[in-house]
């Protein structure tokens, strides 16, 4: 069934057992909404110098947006900022591929569990769900750095 390409076992797992959910202390907090469906996320980031030490979040949303936040937490926490940015870039590329990018080994190495979202990229209405937390993370990070990148999210 085509649907299984979106709702990978791994995504449903993350949805049912989210990682790092809840709001903890952070250096910056952002609130993002998906205007098409009303999904919301409040997300905080904490950095120790160059290292992302925590991403905590709270919000409501569908399985895709919830699982995506969980995967983000698992994948990015503990990484250096530059590495985290690279991962975010690759994830964005995958999600905007309209199902046309078949993740290769190199991509899988970077994205780990997040490659499970490849199937979601075929569903334009759901791509925003998958990206909600990632855009929020990008925005919060920009806030911490106080840099001008903020508005491009």
């Amino acid at each position: 069934m085509k649907l299984d390409s979106m709702y990978q076992e791994l995504i449903l797992d993350h949805y049912k057992h989210p990682h790092g959910r809840g709001l903890r202390e952070g250096d910056a907090e952002v609130h993002h909404v998906n205007p098409t469906c009303g999904d919301e996320i409040t997300l905080r980031v904490k950095y120790d110098g160059e290292t992302l030490t925590d991403v905590s979040y709270e919000g409501q949303g569908c399985s895709i947006s919830q699982a995506s936040a969980s995967v983000l937490n698992e994948l990015l926490v503990g990484k250096e900022l530059s590495e985290a940015r690279k991962i975010q870039g690759v994830f964005l590329e995958l999600m905007q591929s309209k199902g046309k990018v078949e993740p290769d080994e190199e991509m899988e190495e970077v994205l780990e569990d997040a490659v499970a979202f490849a199937g979601v990229s075929k569903y334009p209405a759901r791509v925003k769900c998958a990206l909600l937390s990632w855009m929020a993370w990008k925005d919060a990070t920009a806030q911490v750095l106080g840099d001008a990148e903020r508005k491009t999210a």
């Binding site: 069934m1 085509k2 649907l3 979106m6 709702y7 449903l12 098409t36 469906c37 009303g38 999904d39 919301e40 409501q60 949303g61 569908c62 399985s63 895709i64 947006s65 919830q66 569903y123 759901r126 769900c129």
Partner: protein
């Protein structure tokens, strides 16, 4: 097949709608339950569009050649049809816009720029309700921000009805305009027009009724409603996209200032000043949606031939059946009235803690098209403490079998996320 009293001859009607034969996801015939978002179009409407473009296309009102005369006659003929459809006292009270949203904004802007006694300003109030479509909220928020007028609203009861208990505080002597929906697009609630109109008239406020979810589904009589303005949209009532209607009382349309300026809406123009054409043209700047008005005229003919009362009866039967069957689904909660009384054919619900996005996605895979989200009525979701709903909405071509398909589909959803 389930037989219900009051149904239309669904098989015959469905033959008029080419899209209903559409097959999706490897062989599944579409079950289109997203009619509150937009309706499908009968062959008769598409034929009218094609005939217009192939035989009569020209710009209207300004030509002496035969095409221009034909196009004008067709465009103005559509106005006659719409006027008859809503029982308008005069055809000149029917303004064509691009959609209901423009119609609603048009009224807000007229009142913002009006002279006394209509003028909305910092000493006045605007009243709406918590169940409005965003298109009947944001224009008033903008007007309120820009003029300083105070925006008030009716809240909702737990069972999805307007709470009119504080009507004298919501509509006061300061109120200039009361704007509310006849039928909620998210909950299906049919609102008590009389009580609101009576109070508005008591204080001398104008009344605007958003009939976007009413015009497609029930007989609409603007005189019986007693409102000053009525807005609706073509694409939800078998018409094309790109066309809406604002009906307004003639004296008001004469007194109120124009909104968009341009060709067609003028009487005479010099560089120093201009005077305006009488309504409706005063409010129709630029080349109007000509083909779309003609298409809406054909839609109105189509609906009238079937009979709006019969369509209402059909939908009532389907809604009654759907409500009953939905309430049998475990963990399903209807947001809005849980009977078919005083409600339209849009039914919102939540299914346990499965997010509507996920409900909609799994239904889609089975060929069932429903809408999920806040349905441009986010305050309703906030009111009931939910992020979103799943909405199934029916129309004249909807069948009991499609209700059954929905129920089966929901079973599948529960298993999928179970």
């Amino acid at each position: 097949m389930t037989q219900l009293p009051g149904l239309l001859d669904i098989e015959a009607i469905r033959k008029d709608f080419p899209l209903l034969d559409r097959v999706v996801h490897d062989g599944k015939k579409i079950v289109y339950l997203d009619n509150a978002a937009t309706s499908q179009k009968p062959r008769q409407v598409l034929d009218a569009l094609n005939e217009y473009y192939e035989q009569h296309n020209a710009n209207v009102h300004r030509g002496v050649h035969v095409l221009a005369e034909e196009a004008t006659a067709l465009y103005e003929g559509a106005r006659d049809k719409v006027a008859a459809f809503i029982n308008a006292p005069s055809r000149n009270e029917v303004i064509f816009t691009k959609n209901a949203s423009e119609s609603l904004n048009l009224v807000a802007n007229m009142l913002g720029w009006a002279d006394e006694p209509y003028r909305v300003d910092r000493d006045t109030e605007i009243a709406i309700t918590e169940m409005e479509h965003h298109s009947n909220i944001v224009p008033w928020q903008l007007l309120s921000q820009r003029t300083g007028a105070k925006l008030k609203w009716f809240g909702l009861t737990d069972d999805g009805r307007l709470d009119l208990s504080n009507i004298e505080e919501v509509i006061t002597e300061q109120t200039k305009i009361v704007s509310f929906t006849l039928v909620s697009n998210i909950m299906g609630t049919v609102n008590p027009v009389d009580a609101i109109v009576r109070r508005a008239q008591e204080v001398g406020a104008l009344v605007l009724i958003d009939a976007s979810q009413a015009a497609p589904h029930m007989p609409l009589d603007v005189q019986a409603l007693g409102a000053d303005f009525v807005a609706f949209t073509g694409h939800k009532m078998c018409g094309p996209t790109g066309i809406g209607v604002l009906w307004g009382r003639q004296e008001l349309l004469e007194d109120l200032p124009p909104f968009l300026g341009g060709g067609e809406m003028i009487e005479t123009v010099s560089m120093h000043s201009s005077t305006y054409a009488p309504a409706p043209h005063k409010f129709e700047a630029g080349t109007p949606p000509i083909a779309q008005a003609v298409g809406l005229g054909a839609a109105v003919d189509y609906l009238t031939a079937i009979g709006m009362d019969k369509i209402a009866a059909h939908e009532h039967a389907i809604t009654e059946y759907a409500v009953k069957r939905l309430l049998e689904v475990p963990d399903l909660r209807i947001i809005g009235p849980t009977t078919a009384e005083d409600r339209g054919a849009a039914i919102s619900f939540v299914l346990g803690d499965i997010h509507p996005h996920d409900v909609g996605q799994v239904l889609d895979e089975q060929g069932i098209a429903v809408r999920v989200g806040h349905h441009c009525a986010r305050p309703v979701c906030l009111r009931y403490g939910i992020p979103a709903t799943t909405r199934a909405s029916f129309y004249l071509y909807s069948s009991p079998a499609e209700v059954d398909a929905l129920i089966d589909g929901l079973e599948h959803v529960r298993n999928f996320f179970g």
